[in-house]
């Protein structure tokens, strides 16, 4: 078209001279037809050059607009409109209709009667069994040990080829309330963390990532003591998130020992649950210092099953379906 036609003379010269020649010549005559766009030029060098120039122009315009706005704001002084809030993914999040309203009665009623009610009513004390998949390797073993120090009243048992379905009745018989299975892949705990609430409770299957053992954490404190830590659950807004949050909270005994000054945090951000374990100290009323002890890992919920672990016949409450659920960048489920 005419766009490429105007550049014919420059195209034959090497790139350096094109830059020099193209600059003054185009600024003199901005004569592109209105339907011309940079992407229509077939020649890559020329297209690239035109694109850079377009970008520079955009940048200049943006800078000019900013300066103008700033001048206006200064001129107005006190009466200037308040600064615009930048858009973040959290701001733009697609509204999820299952978001829990703190005053919702139905939710409150549900929570009073679901499987965690006995725990939250202080009738049961959690007793956790941590195990791995077959033949765990070094890192997984160490991670299990550290996890058992973090979660009070937990025991680690190794699995020598036992089927999970047979393990579960035994656990129930011995009064365990929760079962954690850590799956591993190529010597690191990786694909799965199966958290099963035992007497017939829901089973959550998470995908675990970025696991850091205690020695890999920089500036860590001493070992976590045996005091019962506090639990912080952040950002679990929807119904699903609520139930997952309750499930995670039910791992820890309900009465934290504040003398220990330890806190375990499950922070949900964009469907990733970050677990951290800190020791805190209040320096003054407005300042608190925290020091990270303990392992850290992130979880992403893959599926939530109603009964105990049963992959074939279980009734799934929620499965992460990639095609349906990952379509929007601003839609989160937890």
């Amino acid at each position: 078209g005419s766009g490429s036609g105007s550049m014919v003379g420059d195209g034959s010269c090497p790139v350096g001279s094109v830059a020099e020649d193209g600059g003054p010549s185009v600024s003199e005559r901005v004569l592109f037809p209105p339907t011309f766009s940079v992407s229509e030029i077939k020649n890559k060098q020329r297209r690239h050059f035109m694109f850079l120039r377009w970008k520079q122009q955009q940048r200049k315009e943006k800078l000019a607009a900013k300066k103008k706005r700033r001048k206006e704001r200064e001129a107005l002084g006190d009466k200037a409109p308040p600064k615009a809030i930048p858009k973040t993914i959290e701001n733009q999040r697609v509204y999820d209709e299952t978001t829990v309203d703190p005053n919702d009665e139905e939710v409150a009623f549900d929570e009073a009667t679901d499987e965690f009610a006995p725990y939250f009513n202080r009738q049961t004390v959690p007793k956790i069994l941590i195990t791995t998949s077959d033949r765990p390797r070094g890192r997984t073993v160490r991670f299990c040990e550290q996890l058992s120090t973090v979660i009070p009243n937990s025991h680690v048992y190794y699995r020598r080829g036992l089927a999970l379905k047979k393990v579960i009745p035994q656990c129930i018989a011995r009064d365990f309330t929760d079962l954690i299975v850590i799956n591993e892949d190529r010597k690191i705990p990786n694909n799965g963390l199966v958290l099963s609430h035992l007497p017939d409770g829901p089973t959550a299957h998470f995908r675990m990532s970025s696991v850091r053992l205690r020695k890999e954490i920089k500036r860590k404190g001493k070992e976590p003591t045996a005091h019962v830590p506090e639990v912080i659950l952040n950002n679990f807004t929807t119904r699903l998130g609520h139930s997952v949050g309750r499930m995670l909270a039910s791992l820890f005994p309900h009465d934290p020992q504040f003398i220990g000054r330890q806190v375990a945090t499950f922070h949900n951000q964009r469907d990733y649950i970050f677990f951290r374990f800190h020791r805190y100290i209040f320096k003054s009323e407005k300042k608190v210092g925290i020091q990270e002890l303990g392992p850290r890992f992130t979880l992403k919920l893959r599926s939530l099953q109603k009964g105990t672990f049963d992959s074939k016949f279980g009734e799934y409450e929620w499965i992460h379906k990639r095609r349906e659920m990952d379509t929007s960048r601003r839609k989160f489920h937890l």
């Binding site: 806190v263 964009r270 970050f274 209040f282």
Partner: protein
């Protein structure tokens, strides 16, 4: 060592003696769907390729099947008989193993999708940055402190009281006025503090006091609180507060001087 590709081969190697094409009298064991068959090739059927291989179903019982092989391959060369039995043994062994494994839990290999893995990893990093975990945890802990979940373990009630007072002042008047008042108060406190000490204590101590007061200037709230506590303690025990800090130094030198000041006060 060559391997033979022919499916009727007995040993698997490409030799003259174990090639099914080269030998006109040959036998093999093959299994289909978990059942073993004995295949035999005879020279009489050489012109009939369709009927070339005769098939005999072997018994499921291992010993009986061996007897069957023997009875079918009677008068056949030793090599072929022997190799047939060996092959049959191996096949039954691996069939048993398959059956045992299917009873145990199978590992299902799920392929990872590279694009998805990368995407998830990136999203996790961004979420981590957006989460600002340390800040969130600190905020939550401070909230809990304010809401008194910790009870009486931490001794900050004085500060809470002072802050409540300050907040009241701020609410009752406009912000700038309140700030000015607070600053005046602080200055007043400072002035009182410094003057009293000037009259009582020596120059060395004064300098120390000035230094400490300047230090306190730099920190905002703690300073107000400290001064409040200091002023309170001043009310009760005039010079013991600052004096306490330098007790080893003071006791020796200033016992005499403090007495007249207490009298004047």
């Amino acid at each position: 060592q060559n391997f033979c590709r022919n499916e009727y081969n007995l040993t698997g190697l490409c030799n003259r003696s174990s090639c099914p094409l080269a030998n006109s009298q040959y036998a093999t064991i093959r299994e289909e769907k978990g059942r073993c068959y004995l295949y035999m090739k005879a020279i009489e059927r050489a012109p009939f390729p369709r009927r070339l291989w005769e098939r005999v179903l072997l018994n499921k019982n291992y010993e009986k099947a061996l007897e069957q092989i023997d009875e079918n391959l009677i008068y056949w060369p030793r090599f072929i008989r022997h190799k047939c039995k060996q092959r049959f043994t191996k096949i039954t062994q691996y069939l048993i193993r398959i059956r045992k494994l299917t009873l145990k839990r199978q590992r299902k290999l799920v392929p990872l999708r590279r694009k998805i893995e990368r995407r998830e990893k990136r999203r996790e990093e961004k979420a981590l940055i957006a989460a600002q975990l340390d800040n969130a945890i600190e905020k939550e802990l401070l909230e809990r402190l304010k809401q008194d979940t910790y009870g009486d373990i931490y001794n900050f009630p004085i500060h809470a009281f002072d802050k409540a007072l300050q907040q009241q002042d701020a609410e009752s008047e406009s912000e700038s006025d309140a700030e000015k008042e607070e600053e005046d108060e602080e200055d007043m406190d400072k002035r009182e503090f410094v003057e009293a000490d000037d009259s009582d204590l020596s120059d060395f101590e004064d300098m120390d006091k000035l230094e400490t007061s300047s230090e306190e200037e730099q920190e905002e709230e703690e300073e107000v609180e400290k001064q409040a506590s200091h002023s309170k303690s001043k009310g009760k025990t005039p010079l013991k507060g600052p004096a306490r800090r330098k007790r080893p130094y003071i006791e020796i030198e200033y016992e005499e001087e403090t007495e007249p000041t207490t009298k004047t006060k």
